[in-house]
């Protein structure tokens, strides 16, 4: 299975672990991740205004690359996934945006949202299959109680992201079961961690993280997993190290015996 892979800025720096373990696991699972050679930063945050064009061009360039490679565009960072998938939806459904972008980029072939954006977790669920992963697990994380932290970016807006049920998602819990551990359900798993506000006012993510962690601990979680480097930072650093937080790929690598 081949995918055009978009890592994004954070996975080359502070979020290296998310990327490194994903690549190791992909090898075991027979998945090839072809990194786009000259990818550009997605901007980290999708701007909802319909007249924002320039801030979305980097995403279109990545999408065009996937279209030309005739493969799906694989993402791993929640933020990149959110931005690129929403831009792709704009290219497919918003004529004004599509016209402005194509008019500027002057591609050999106009791009109209033909590529498919797929998150690594969706790839595990829909392409590899959690049953198949279960078979490949050599070091099951038996007895480990793990709380899935979804955050916002993978799920919302569900009309575009179509990732899972936005209020009662199951993909990360199914993933946790596949690696032999026990998922812990808690209410705050899809509520915001405080995101980029950490730059201006740490009190905001601190308050958010406290609520999320308190909720997860009260339901018996021993650790949390996430797909977002900023969620990980907020829960870990702003959350005051009250609970271990891992990238889901790290635990997958451990279960597959490639950590």
């Amino acid at each position: 299975m081949n995918f055009t892979y978009y890592p994004g800025c954070t996975l080359k720096a502070k979020g290296k672990d998310l990327d490194i373990y994903a690549r190791k696991c992909a090898e075991v699972l027979g998945v090839t991740m072809d990194e786009i050679k000259d990818w550009q930063c997605c901007g980290g945050c999708y701007t909802t205004s319909q007249d924002e064009i320039a801030t979305k061009l980097a995403s279109v360039r990545a999408l065009v690359e996937a279209k030309n490679n005739n493969t799906e565009l694989l993402t791993l960072c929640s933020a990149c996934h959110n931005v690129i998938k929403r831009v792709n939806n704009d290219m497919a459904t918003n004529d004004y945006f599509n016209f402005r972008v194509n008019n500027y980029l002057k591609l050999d072939q106009p791009y109209n949202g033909e590529a498919t954006v797929i998150h690594y977790l969706e790839m595990l669920r829909d392409k590899v299959g959690f049953d198949k992963i279960k078979e490949k697990v050599v070091n099951p994380l038996t007895g480990k109680k793990i709380g899935a932290y979804y955050g916002c970016l993978l799920l919302r807006p569900s009309s575009v992201m179509a990732f899972d049920n936005p209020e009662n998602p199951t993909i990360l819990e199914d993933f946790i079961k596949a690696i032999g551990a026990t998922p812990v359900i808690y209410q705050m798993r899809n509520e915001c961690c405080g995101a980029y506000c950490t730059l201006e006012d740490k009190a905001i993510p601190k308050k958010r993280s406290d609520k999320i962690i308190e909720n997860a601990l009260s339901k018996g979680a021993e650790c949390l997993i996430t797909a977002c480097p900023l969620c990980l930072y907020n829960l870990k650093v702003n959350g005051g190290d009250k609970i271990p937080v891992y990238y889901f790929t790290e635990l997958l690598a451990e279960a597959l015996g490639v950590k």
Partner: protein, 128 residues
């Protein structure tokens, strides 16, 4: 001051109609940053409808929206307040010299653990 022209501009940018709001308050009830806002999501919808946009534009509340899309997801009428807050904020920061976040503000006390994503998204949100 009532400014209906600006209301039209905001509706055009956000792609949503404030007139669809039925005032249920679900957006503010679900907002994770409610406590940090002077004007809450439902008030953004209300005051844009009234054309009373200056007070929103001059409030710090435009920078405390987390873009978590909870209000967008849970609005039963697809008014999608976060898109309206974003439009009001863009009209402010698009003005010359009106960036909310400047590079020199962050470089000094940067936490070495902070992921690049925090910087890129904050600059995308706060600056043009």
């Amino acid at each position: 001051m009532q400014n209906l022209k600006l209301r039209e501009k905001i509706e055009e940018m956000s792609g949503v109609s404030v007139l669809k709001c039925m005032r249920c308050g679900k957006c503010s009830a679900t907002c994770p940053n409610y406590d940090e806002m002077e004007f809450h999501p439902h008030q953004f919808v209300y005051f844009v409808e009234k054309g009373e946009i200056d007070k929103l534009a001059n409030s710090k509340s435009i920078y405390t929206c987390l873009s978590c899309m909870a209000c967008v997801e849970r609005c039963p009428r697809q008014v999608e307040p976060a898109k309206i807050i974003e439009a009001v904020k863009l009209l402010q920061i698009r003005k010359q010299g009106n960036n909310h976040l400047k590079p020199e503000q962050v470089s000094v006390s940067l936490d070495p653990e902070l992921p690049a994503q925090a910087l890129t998204s904050a600059f995308r949100k706060y600056s043009k």
